[in-house]
């Protein structure tokens, strides 16, 4: 069973559209991170959220951590082809000292 679930699994949209991807769990996390991975490369950190209800913005990307610290969302405004990649959420549980990754959302932005 997955500790972290992500939806949708795959998403294909036209350039300029908006989208939201979700990361959900039944567990509480002390912090949650979002990474983007391009083909043939390792994941690269986009953001870390640590406070329930926290919202962080990174240019056209908006990240939110749920109030109960069990879920998170990533919203992209006016998607561009350069946003194409695998988006992974990763959570740290307070009782562990390691990070667990979700299965990822594969995003394709068509010009």
């Amino acid at each position: 069973t997955q500790l972290l679930e992500q939806s949708p699994q795959f998403l294909s949209i036209q350039e300029g559209e908006n989208l939201t991807v979700y990361c959900n769990s039944s567990s509480v996390f002390s912090s949650l991170q979002w990474y983007r991975q391009e083909p043939g490369e390792g994941p690269v950190l986009l953001v870390t959220v640590v406070t329930g209800g926290e919202v962080k913005k990174l240019k056209r990307l908006t990240f939110q951590f749920g109030d109960a610290r069990k879920d998170s969302s990533l919203h992209i405004t006016a998607a561009q082809p350069g946003d194409t990649g695998l988006y992974l959420c990763a959570g740290l549980k307070t009782s562990y000292d390691k990070v667990i990754f979700g299965p990822g959302t594969s995003l394709s932005v068509i010009p």
Partner: protein, 114 residues
């Protein structure tokens, strides 16, 4: 700015062979990890280490072994390779994760077992 370096980049193994994936980092990070990623999937934690001499199992440790004799190096050993171990392997390192620190990944090692 080497970061996390892992070798080899590509390897083909026959069933039953053994090999070691090498990983070294130059950022003086205490935490190191090995993940595997199957096609179209996320990352599964194999083993991790919070410092030299300390290792612990992750989600999918069966068929693998690790050692951490120095802060810099964290090799992953595959004994008796099986087709189920065909995957992309990522080594990573970080400062203590309980402070939300970034995990830095290597470029990956593509392993095929035939």
């Amino acid at each position: 700015n080497a970061g996390v370096t892992q070798t080899p980049k590509f390897r083909i193994l026959k069933i039953g062979q053994s090999m070691t994936l090498q990983c070294t980092q130059d950022m003086n990070h205490n935490y190191m990890y090995w993940y595997r990623q199957d096609p179209g999937m996320g990352l599964k934690l194999i083993y991790y280490s919070v410092g030299a001499g300390i290792t612990d199992k992750g989600e999918v440790p069966n068929g693998y072994n690790v050692s951490r004799s120095t802060t810099e190096d964290f090799p992953l050993r595959l004994e008796l390779a099986a087709p189920s171990q065909t995957s992309v392997y990522f080594c990573a390192s970080s400062r203590p994760v309980d402070r939300g620190n970034t995990i830095y990944f290597g470029e990956g090692s593509w392993l095929t077992v035939v």
